[in-house]
């Protein structure tokens, strides 16, 4: 019954894929924050966040994206987001995330976007 959340890491070419699973709220956001911080510390600055198994997100989860995006882009990297369920997508849209982040349909499309446009022009 503990609301499960986990981050699974994989790589593809020079990209890091972080797959989020479960419920991302104020309780679990620190775990996601740590996962991104570790990538930065290891100089992995091209991140794909795969949300295909993300069931729920609140502003605490969205804040994690906000906290790192400037630094990543300054260093030549980006966070690109993919595979949002309709429920999760609605939250990104209410807050205007599509203006600030590349949001794609799936991992392959996001890999392609990194090739075409390494940093989103905002």
């Amino acid at each position: 019954m503990a609301n499960p959340f986990s981050v699974t890491r994989s790589t593809e070419q020079n990209l890091t894929i972080l797959a989020l699973v479960g419920f991302l709220d104020a309780h679990t956001a620190p775990e996601f924050e740590n996962a991104i911080q570790q990538e930065l510390d290891a100089d992995n600055i091209r991140l794909i966040v795969d949300c295909s198994k993300l069931t729920y997100i609140s502003s605490a989860g969205l804040g994690v994206f906000m906290g790192f995006i400037e630094e990543l882009r300054e260093r030549g990297g980006d966070i690109k987001i993919c595979a949002l369920s309709p429920k999760v997508e609605q939250v990104f849209e209410i807050l205007g995330f599509p203006a600030l982040y590349d949001i794609l349909a799936d991992v392959p499309a996001t890999v392609q976007r990194f090739a075409d446009s390494p940093i989103k022009q905002v």
Partner: protein, 143 residues
């Protein structure tokens, strides 16, 4: 139904209890007759309200209580989140836009905006250290 349905939940002020609070809201909004899309909005608005109480009103102190009152009839669902924490002036909160927040590397500042856009009515009654209430209303759309 002929009478108002009233529910109350009281939990310790830890983020671990947000999941319990969301269960509570989901059960009630389903009973009230909201569809899946509206249920998701209610769940999120109450989560945001309670996360703010835990983080800001109580400043992370875990021995306090978060209270959620919910009641509905054929027309509206009213949810009130109550705390006894430090309170604040909601009108004094600067609503930064997303780009500003990103530039300042702020991880916060999105919750109150979400609550506003998810609910039909939002009203704060602040009594610092005594009783602070966030009253939220969502109307049932007749099919």
């Amino acid at each position: 139904m002929t009478f108002e349905q009233a529910f109350t939940l009281n939990v310790p002020s830890t983020t671990q209890n947000l999941a319990l609070i969301r269960d509570f809201v989901n059960r009630i909004s389903s009973q009230a007759g909201f569809d899946a899309d509206e249920m998701a909005k209610l769940e999120l608005a109450v989560d945001e309200a309670c996360a703010n109480v835990i983080e800001h009103a109580y400043e992370g102190e875990e021995g306090k209580q978060v209270m959620v009152n919910a009641s509905f009839d054929d027309e509206v669902l009213r949810i009130t989140v109550v705390d006894t924490g430090k309170g604040f002036d909601p009108s004094g909160v600067h609503q930064a836009n997303l780009r500003e927040l990103a530039e300042k590397r702020r991880t916060g500042g999105l919750g109150m905006r979400l609550i506003q856009s998810l609910m039909d009515e939002v009203h704060y009654e602040i009594g610092p250290g005594n009783k602070n209430e966030l009253q939220m209303v969502k109307r049932l759309r007749k099919p």
